[in-house]
């Protein structure tokens, strides 16, 4: 297992592996997103109370869960990079940030569009909404901090600390609706009891969520390759590839 770990952490190997894996993530992601969209917009029945307006959750919920998951991935990668001095882990964390930030923006925008007809407001300073906004600022702060260093290694270490500190916000976002009185309703699918969403409406949501995860993986394959190219621009293995093709 350690051999595999070391092999993967070598930039040329990771570069090739990411390139090879990409289509295996990308095409299933597109397929799942198409199925999920059709299922969510056409096949799923309307909600008894919210009518057709609830369908925005097929984008809102997956992007919200991705905004949290990507942050956890980023923070874990940053911690691994910090503890084991693994450059590839730092590269992974750096590649995560803009993707996670866009998922957060998508969550906030779709949530706002959802909130206006349902709650009667575009925005409220409610615990869930506010903590999700803080998550966006954490992503932006991480990216800004990285950009402020010329030296990649120093950028890696400083931003890793910020990423690790920021992970405290993740459980706050997740449990804000349980811990405090909130305008946002409680969890529907991630609780221990049976999901309080009808199976006919649930399956497109799960398909969409899986589609989002695979899409993220495909995008990450590209981004990690870009990040490796940038970091290893003077390495000999790269010039060999460049000359060879």
């Amino acid at each position: 297992m350690w051999l595999w770990f070391h092999k993967l952490s070598s930039p040329p190997h990771a570069y090739r592996t990411a390139g090879r894996l990409r289509p295996w993530f990308f095409w299933p992601a597109i397929l799942l997103l198409l199925i999920g969209t059709y299922g969510g917009l056409v096949l799923a029945p309307e909600d008894y109370q919210q009518k057709d307006a609830f369908r925005i959750l097929y984008v809102h919920v997956p992007s919200a869960s991705m905004s949290l998951m990507v942050y956890v991935a980023l923070a874990v990668a940053a911690a691994i990079g910090l503890i084991w001095r693994m450059k590839l882990a730092h590269a992974f964390a750096a590649a995560c940030a803009p993707v996670g930030a866009w998922f957060t923006v998508l969550t906030l925008v779709t949530g706002s569009i959802y909130g206006k007809p349902m709650w009667g407001t575009w925005w409220e300073w409610d615990p869930r909404l506010t903590s999700e906004l803080i998550l966006l600022f954490l992503y932006l702060g991480y990216m800004a901090l990285r950009a402020s260093f010329d030296d990649t290694q120093r950028a890696d270490r400083a931003s890793a600390i910020l990423a690790i500190v920021g992970v405290v916000n993740v459980p706050i976002v997740k449990y804000s609706v349980v811990w405090w009185n909130s305008l946002h309703q409680g969890p529907s699918i991630s609780k221990l009891a049976a999901p309080s969403i009808d199976p006919s409406m649930l399956w497109p949501l799960l398909v969409m969520m899986l589609g989002f995860v695979l899409y993220f993986a495909a995008v990450m394959c590209d981004r990690i390759r870009g990040e490796i190219l940038r970091r290893e621009r003077n390495a000999s293995w790269l010039s060999e590839i460049a000359v060879g093709t």
């Binding site: 008894y48 009185n181 305008l183």
Partner: protein, 158 residues
């Protein structure tokens, strides 16, 4: 202790320290973080009287009153312990119905009524198709609410 182990402990300590500090801060500011008060807190007088605040609860069945041709609505909010009568002039959100969770922002008047300046509807975490809702409603499931005509346009048409 290897340098790697030392860095691991450092990361652990950062997490522990920041986590602890945030947990303490959140507990200390619990009152200020409160997004809305419950009718019980209003009845017990545990609410600010110098500023606007929010009260959240269920709209009691059969409590909704609105004069024809007027936008002034009156209804009772309950948390199944205490009640607060809310009066509000304006357009109510689409999801407003009896048995529905509502959050109203405003202040308490001298006569004990809550004068709302804004009413928001809170929807629950249950999603189901209409026919499933009908079945549940027939079985007397309290979670399923029935829409009522709340806008003057609707009540004029019916």
């Amino acid at each position: 202790m290897t340098p790697r182990r030392r860095r691991m402990v450092l990361v652990g300590l950062i997490l522990l320290g920041v986590g602890g500090a945030v947990a303490l801060a959140l507990t200390a500011f619990q009152d200020n973080l409160l997004y809305y008060y419950t009718p019980t807190q209003v009845a017990a007088g545990e609410v600010p009287n110098d500023r606007l605040f929010r009260v959240g609860g269920m709209v009691t069945e059969g409590s909704f009153r609105r004069e024809p041709g007027s936008l002034e609505a009156q209804f009772v909010l309950t948390d199944y312990e205490s009640n607060v009568t809310v009066s509000y002039t304006g357009v109510l959100p689409d999801l407003f119905r009896e048995g529905q969770g509502i959050i109203a922002r405003g202040r308490v008047a001298r006569d004990g009524r809550f004068i709302a300046e804004e009413v928001l509807a809170k929807h629950d975490e249950n999603y189901m198709p209409p026919d499933v809702a009908d079945t549940l409603r027939k079985q007397g499931d309290k979670r399923v609410t029935t829409p009522i005509a709340t806008s003057t346009v609707e009540s004029g048409a019916e």
